[in-house]
């Protein structure tokens, strides 16, 4: 099921399907999940979960030297009627319900945040307008915690927009009640120097549908860890991602879907384009099908398009299956490059060079952009892709 094609110099594509009783997704982490940062050793860079990440560029988030300063990040929530927005203290029972930090920075964020934001959509409330959460970095350091909870049969679209300059470590919890439908679009449109590390925990209720769209353009280092578990059978998760990694940027997306409940579905599609020297994209796609998760249907895919020399992709899909009683399970990873021959072919048909690049990149992302389902975000994405391409031509 794993496939690797046209691998350019400087990229790796690995993949494995393990059929075993032992769970390496969990066991290869350097410490068990915990809310306390003290339970995690300071990483040195050779650990499985840190080996791709440039620790020296994390501005101290990983070793305890990063200190929050008052107005590091400004968070503004715009919510339509029917939504409750609260700022709560550390003791609130809803915090940490969707998942536990699995690495040192997530635990650091959990140990260090002072106030959390909780956005609640009451049961059976169907929103027609998105909830918009603007996270704007003001040059400081911050630890955050965000909870988004939908009651049973509620439906909502949430857009979380990260802009500005910041050093931010955060946990984001998505809690879906039975039959709820949540679409979350998380846009990382940071300034060049920003560092953003976050764990996303989704707990998908019985017959609920969760759609996550992660869009990463900006920042010096962005390392996101979207995770999904199911609270009951019949749940569905779609995890879409799109990244455009420029010269010098490190963009890392590490996903884990844990099928811990029977008859749930998951579908992961991440696509990235890279250009420029030392552009580095990392995609880790882990899916674990536990022995009790009979009737699971899962697929994960990562595609990368390398536009110039000097960029690097590490793409590692990993599927662990503890039961054979499933509907389907598979993964694919491929990294290809936009090469001189493709450019020649398009130009030989009269298409100017910049137009040729745009055609290829737009084509590469188009299918995924159409899946977002939020019109203004789709338009902004296409505009952003154009902008990135213009920058590369200049």
């Amino acid at each position: 099921m794993a496939e690797a094609q046209n691998i350019p110099v400087g990229s790796t594509t690995a993949g494995s399907i393990a059929v075993a009783a032992e769970s390496t997704v969990v066991s290869r982490m350097s410490a068990p999940p915990s809310f306390d940062v003290a339970d995690f050793p300071v990483p040195h860079g050779r650990e499985e979960e840190w080996r791709f990440t440039p620790l020296e560029r994390l501005r101290g988030l990983h070793d305890g030297t990063a200190v929050a300063n008052g107005d590091g990040v400004k968070v503004d929530v715009q919510a339509p009627e029917g939504v409750t927005v609260e700022t709560v203290g550390r003791g609130d029972a809803r915090l940490g319900k969707a998942g536990t930090p699995v690495d040192r920075i997530a635990a650091q964020a959990y140990s260090a945040f002072e106030k959390a934001s909780v956005v609640t959509v009451a049961k059976e409330t169907v929103l027609t307008e998105p909830i918009r959460i603007a996270v704007h970095g003001q040059g400081g350091t911050a630890f955050g915690h965000q909870v988004i909870e939908l009651g049973a049969f509620a439906e909502a679209v949430v857009v979380i927009d990260h802009t500005g300059d910041a050093v931010l470590a955060a946990n984001v919890d998505y809690i879906l009640g039975d039959g709820a439908k949540l679409t979350v679009v998380s846009v990382q449109d940071w300034d060049d120097k920003a560092v953003h590390v976050a764990q996303h925990n989704a707990l998908v209720g019985r017959d609920a549908s969760f759609k996550s769209v992660v869009v990463t353009f900006g920042g010096d280092v962005v390392r996101l860890h979207p995770r999904v578990e199911y609270a009951g059978p019949g749940g569905e998760a779609e995890l879409f991602g799109l990244y455009f990694t420029d010269a010098g940027q490190h963009q890392e997306h590490r996903l884990l879907v844990t099928h811990n409940t029977p008859h749930c579905k998951s579908n992961v599609v991440y696509k990235g384009a890279l250009q420029g020297d030392n552009a580095h994209a990392v995609w880790i796609g882990d899916v674990l099908i536990e022995a009790r998760a009979e009737g699971t249907d899962t697929y994960e895919m990562n595609r990368n398009l390398v536009l110039t020399d000097g960029a690097r992709v590490d793409s590692v899909p990993n599927l662990e299956i503890e039961t054979g009683e499933i509907v389907g399970a598979g993964h694919a990873s491929a990294t290809g490059r936009f090469d001189d021959e493709q450019l020649f072919y398009l130009m030989a048909r009269g298409i100017p060079e910049h137009e040729a690049r745009r055609l290829v990149v737009r084509g590469f992302f188009a299918e995924l952009v159409q899946q977002i389902g939020v019109a203004d975000i789709e338009e902004r994405l296409l505009a952003k892709i154009e902008e990135e391409l213009e920058a590369s031509v200049a």
Binding site: L305, Q342, Y345, M347, R349, G350, L359, V360, F364
Partner: protein, 254 residues
Amino acid sequence: MATLEIRDLHVTVEADNATKEILKGVDLTVKQGETHAIMGPNGSGKSTLAYSLAGHPKYTITSGTVLLDGEDVLEMSVDERARAGLFLAMQYPVEVPGVSVSNFLRTSATAVRGEAPKLRTWVKEVKEAMERLNMDPSFAERNVNEGFSGGEKKRHEILQLELLKPKVAILDETDSGLDVDALRIVSEGVNRVRETGEVGTLLITHYTRILRYIKPDHVHVFAGGRIVESGGPELADKLENEGYESYVKGGASA
């Protein structure tokens, strides 16, 4: 009337850290409405001529001129040449993942024609051209050349030829790798374009087989990086019977 004039064209390539001269003084004039067959053995430089005219970056022009209606083709970028009216049907068309045939054709036609074709007439134009080449409509939604069979790739090249209506079409071994049915369909496509009388055709081939379907006005034998003999259609018959042997020996000493 459009004319392509190639004068004393010399071309080199870099290979194994050495510069190798492939074309050693090519002279050829192709006028609108004419069909010239260029025939020669493997390695004689036929494809180099085709790709050099289209502007492939691998080839360096060291001397000579190429004029299209008096305009200096060698000064133009690859896309400018195409917009000026040069078309190269490639021997090995390139896969372009993520770009659908329909999007590609429209972008190309827009660039070459200088304005976007009107959607209504365009859809009809493409549909009819595809039908004539026995191409299934689903073809338009596939990615350019991705997973195409050899025959599909060549039909796709000829589809572009029909839609872009160039002044000069260079067909680089369009016949290679085609079975008889595909060869007939592709040849009919080329003939439809030729019959308009508005295109000059440079048909590059190793075999005489395609000349049963596409009748050339002029036949040139290409060997050792230049044209070594020119004549009418009867020259093709001679090649059919005698092969390239006599030219290869002569070419080696050139």
